[in-house]
């Protein structure tokens, strides 16, 4: 390993840590040094745990040296979206309206699982206020930027998790996804983001946006890395009433270790709906068709499907989370209204304007969409679409809560199945675009396997934003480590 060829994935770093080419302390130190240099520009972190993470890294190194290996995440630096509790500090939710006693000094089950697996928590990552309201420049909070273009929005709401992974400030991160909030920022920042099946990953210790929509998911450079994280965080937990009684199934182990053979795989695509969608980047359709071509060359069969109405799905989901968010924050809304940012206040207003009949109708439409998707997935193994119609949006046009932005993604929150976003190429402006692969409930292994196969056949996921390259090499050079 030369300093110009540092490990960029969890899987590669895990190998380097075990071969002695790299220590966890070196890795974590390097990433904090990058963060010192670039985070004032990127706005990735709400809080960094420098001392705690270096101490944990030293412990991880000692354990490995003593022969105690906790698995592939042992010694790996990860970020945690700041609506998820971790015992290092309080959860800010990127808001001035914080209850410091909420899950104080405790880990959410997902964080506890990562910690038990040896992961190093380097900090909390910025989000839209409570994963809902856009960053308010009047507030002294991190203003997350796209790692590929600092004049652009990182996407929401797992903003810092996505730009932090893309910039190399962490090797993976947890995000949450209610209408696309893992997959959209993953697409905008050129990384991989997986929304697990609803209920597969426990949500206790995670602030609620949509009670029946939320999913905690991994974000990382590759689908294999996401599978390694999902191996750790998936599985039932009695503290979460919506936790599915299903054990984790060995997601990373289910990925192929040889050249992919996609013979027999049936992929549903509604090309006409994508072609007819307005406002998409001019390169989107061509890149999507190229992605399909990559998979069909390996034996996959494309099946023309009729998608459910994506705008209808996004509308139904939006009604649901607007009301859920208002219900969840009701006391704070009454007591501390003025302290919330402008963006989230606007979203709360959307919730209070939803009538009871609107809410019932949205639920009935949701059932209709569930039936449509179930019928579709009875005939095909997975469904492909773009993750979003464009690359990252200019910062002044940021929203992340707009219904239209979740057009391709919200359907999988409404219907519950797994969906992963992987990079599929660049716009003419050099901004990443995402390919979404979705599947049947609890077939997370299948969608991750196809995402991994796609990444074995393409190099889109290897592209790094300019901001990641130069700073990444310096700390390793200073550490004087060479290998491979």
């Amino acid at each position: 390993m030369t300093v110009m060829d540092p490990p960029l994935t969890i899987a590669d770093c895990a190998t380097a840590l075990r071969s002695g080419q790299l220590s966890s302390v070196q890795l974590v130190s390097a990433m904090h040094e990058y963060a010192n240099a670039v985070d004032p520009l990127l706005g990735v972190f709400t809080t960094r745990y420098v001392e705690q993470s270096l101490e944990a890294a030293a412990g991880a190194d000692r354990e490995l040296a003593a022969g105690l290996d906790r698995g592939p995440l042992h010694g790996i630096p990860l970020g945690i979206k700041d609506i998820i509790a971790s015992r290092e500090g309080s959860t800010s939710a990127s808001s001035a309206v914080v209850d410091p006693s909420w899950w104080a000094d405790q880990d959410a089950p997902v964080v506890a699982r990562l910690r038990s697996a040896g992961a190093i928590i380097v900090g909390k990552t910025s989000t839209m206020e409570y994963a809902l309201g856009e960053p308010d420049s009047d507030q002294e909070l991190a203003q997350p930027r796209c790692a590929w273009d600092l004049d652009r929005w990182a996407g929401g709401s797992s903003s810092g998790s996505a730009s932090g992974v893309a910039a190399g400030l962490m090797l993976g991160a947890l995000g949450t996804d209610t209408g696309g909030s893992v997959r959209l920022p993953a697409a905008f920042n050129g990384i991989t983001g997986h929304k697990p099946t609803f209920g597969l990953v426990p949500k206790s210790g995670v602030h609620v946006l949509g009670f029946s929509l939320d999913a905690v998911g991994p974000m990382a450079p590759t689908a294999r890395d996401c599978a390694l994280m999902l191996d750790v965080i998936a599985g039932p937990d009695s503290s979460d009433a919506s936790s599915a009684h299903r054990p984790a199934v060995g997601y990373a182990a289910s990925l192929e270790s040889h050249d992919p053979d996609l013979s027999g795989l049936r992929i549903g695509v509604d090309l006409a709906a994508i072609r007819n969608r307005e406002g998409c980047d001019s390169t989107l359709l061509g890149l999507f068709e190229q992605a399909i071509g990559v998979l069909t060359e390996e034996g996959a069969t494309i099946v023309a499907i009729e998608s459910p109405s994506w705008p209808l799905a996004a509308l139904s989901a939006a009604v649901c989370w607007q009301v859920d968010a208002l219900a969840y924050h009701r006391d704070l809304v009454r007591e501390r209204w003025r302290e919330f940012g402008r963006g989230i206040r606007a979203m709360f207003i959307e919730g209070l304007l939803v009538t009871p009949s609107d809410y019932v109708v949205a639920g009935r439409v949701r059932r209709m969409l569930c039936d449509h998707v179930s019928a579709t997935l009875a005939d095909v193994d997975v469904v492909l679409s773009p993750t979003h119609g464009t690359g990252a949006l200019p910062y002044e046009l940021r929203s992340g809560s707009s219904v239209d932005e979740t057009a391709f993604t919200a359907i999988w929150n409404l219907t519950g199945g797994p969906a992963v976003s992987v990079p599929m190429g660049m716009t003419a402006r050099g901004l990443p675009l995402g390919l979404q692969i979705a599947g049947r409930p609890f077939q997370d292994a299948r969608v991750l396997a196809l995402a991994d196969a796609f990444q074995r056949l393409t190099s889109h996921h290897l592209a790094r934003p300019p901001i990641a390259r130069e700073p990444f090499t310096r700390p390793l050079a200073a550490a004087g480590k060479e290998s491979r």
Binding site: R338, I349, D371, V403
Partner: protein, 75 residues
């Protein structure tokens, strides 16, 4: 909905939930109340195709029981 009615509706909705809107926010809410009617119209237009099912411990339409493989409790 007239502007006057929209303002009254927004004020009622906010006061019922105890949300202390400013005058500016109230005017914004009134505008959104009108716009939202149009924005949510597609949901009502799609309704004839939606199954008539309530929230039970099972789904009458297809006999699937909650908690079974692949089922999702919707909200």
């Amino acid at each position: 909905m007239s502007t006057e009615h929209a303002l009254a509706y927004a004020a009622f909705a906010a006061s019922r939930l105890g949300v202390p809107l400013t005058d500016e926010e109230l005017r914004h809410a009134a505008g959104r109340a009108v716009a939202k009617q149009a924005e949510l119209a597609p949901l009502y237009a799609a309704l004839p195709g939606a199954p008539v099912e309530g929230t039970l411990t099972f789904r009458p339409g297809n006999q699937a029981v909650r908690g079974e493989a692949g089922s999702q409790i919707d909200g």
